[in-house]
């Protein structure tokens, strides 16, 4: 996925990032209960 992103033209990169960010923010604010493993031990 990272390689594909690197090859994309700039406008596509902006749209791609915005969509990803929207998905993450939605997941976080929709209350995903995922714990981030390992951290802090």
């Amino acid at each position: 996925m990272n390689e594909l992103f690197k090859k994309a033209p700039l406008p596509v990169k902006f749209i791609w990032l915005s969509l990803e960010l929207a998905v993450v923010l939605y997941a976080v604010f929709a209350g995903t209960t995922t714990t981030v493993l390992y951290q802090g031990f």
């Binding site: 700039l10 998905v23 209960t33 981030v36 493993l37 031990f41």
Partner: protein
């Protein structure tokens, strides 16, 4: 025990980390000569704010500074130097301190000792890994004239990007990379690429791994309703596979976030994953999964153990020594992952898996010869079998991570 009322929650999902992701690239690029000092201050502030109590702070200072001060005394100058007693004593004390602070459930003596959870501090395990690397490599670092200052040492051990769960950098590679003046400055495209790595890392953690976790929990809850053994086994396999995928996406996502964040500050972190589920054996799996941990345990557990074994009890059978060293190494690595009995089983399974993979390879090489073995490995049924077996075996061993499988079994026996 006096506990702090205000304590910083620090993980890649915390607001504090999010703010640092945005602010640090700006701060670190203010002036090149200030970078190490800015990073030093931020690392100290972040670490201090995460401390649970004043006492934890005192222990943490001791835990962090002692290896720095002791390193010159651990170098063995001659056969008669005091370091030959001091060195083992130092590592034994470190290990005992670590075991006490981690408070492993199954070490019975801990049940009789008073224990204060507020004494534990952020990144205890990963601090230990780095301190061992620094003290073990100190002589080499001095010989190679690698820059050693208290600022660099603190930046190395307390690096807020990696303190939570790695990747485990080596002192030499951290310092060499940090002061690499030939590294080109990031252009707009590179910034976009790293931003994508960070956001996609969060997608892996909060979306993909979240889904996998949901499926794993769902199937784990259905095992007791299976009715017969065959059905229970199928449901357990489903749970184990989803749980393994949850662990993978969660951890690889975390690594992407911290690697992308560090790259925006001009630091290159080691890659920790290389398509682990493409592995065809357990040995290969551990060369692709949590690579920096695998390399650390290879250098600081496997190497000394195998040296002892092949110069002592396994002098006449080197292969047996190799297998025993592999088993001990992966058992320790497994036990380290968590404090309850499930992780002991996980360690046993990992050790056993790596030994089986080594024995199988050795037997097949004897049977077919080296050239014949290469041909054998190219056969489609062999490829499918090896991929499937590795995936299932990893899933089975990982099912003891995060779920109380032993408790579940004990309830029903």
């Amino acid at each position: 025990m006096i506990e702090r009322l205000v304590m910083l929650n620090f993980s890649i999902g915390s607001i504090a980390f999010g703010v640092l992701l945005i602010v640090m690239p700006l701060l670190m690029n203010l002036k090149r000569e200030w970078r190490q000092y800015i990073f030093f201050i931020v690392n100290i502030v972040v670490f201090t704010l995460t401390l649970k109590s004043v006492y934890a702070g005192i222990i943490a200072v001791f835990w962090i500074i002692t290896p720095y001060l002791m390193a010159p005394f651990l170098v063995q100058e001659s056969e008669k130097s005091i370091s030959r007693f001091l060195k083992p004593l130092f590592y034994i004390l470190m290990l005992v301190g670590f075991l006490y602070l981690m408070h492993y459930d199954w070490i019975i003596i801990f049940k009789k000792l008073p224990y204060f959870a507020a004494l534990k501090f952020l990144g205890l395990s990963y601090l230990l890994f780095r301190e061992v690397d620094y003290t073990m490599q100190y002589e080499y670092l001095r010989e190679m004239k690698v820059r050693i200052t208290i600022v660099d040492y603190i930046n190395y051990v307390l690096n807020f990007y990696t303190i939570m769960a790695g990747p485990i950098m080596r002192y030499e590679e951290f310092v060499t990379d940090f002061y690499d003046s030939e590294k080109p400055a990031l252009d707009g495209n590179a910034v976009m690429d790293q931003a994508h790595r960070i956001i996609f890392g969060y997608v892996k953690v909060y979306v993909i791994s979240s889904f996998m976790s949901w499926f794993a929990s769902y199937w784990f809850g259905r095992i007791s309703e299976a009715g017969n053994l065959a059905k229970a086994v199928i449901i357990y396999v489903l749970f184990a596979v989803f749980n393994a995928l949850f662990i993978y996406f969660n951890f690889v996502g975390y690594c992407d976030v911290v690697a992308g964040g560090a790259a925006l500050c001009g630091m290159t972190l080691r890659e920790n994953f290389n398509k682990p589920y493409m592995a065809r054996s357990m040995t290969e799996f551990w060369n692709r999964h949590h690579i920096t941990l695998s390399e650390w345990i290879r250098d600081y557990i496997y190497s000394p153990v195998i040296k002892k074994l092949i110069s002592g009890p396994c002098k006449k059978n080197l292969f047996a020594g190799q297998c025993a060293a592999l088993f001990i190494t992966f058992l320790i690595a497994g036990i380290w992952h968590g404090t309850n009995l499930n992780y002991v089983v996980y360690g046993l399974l990992e050790g056993l898996g790596v030994v089986i993979s080594s024995v199988r390879k050795s037997k097949l090489q004897k049977k077919y010869g080296k050239k014949g073995y290469k041909e054998y490995e190219k056969k489609l049924p062999v490829i499918i079998f090896e991929h499937a077996w590795t995936m299932l075996y990893v899933a089975l061993s990982f099912s003891f991570v995060g779920y109380d499988v032993i408790g579940f079994i004990m309830e029903r026996v």
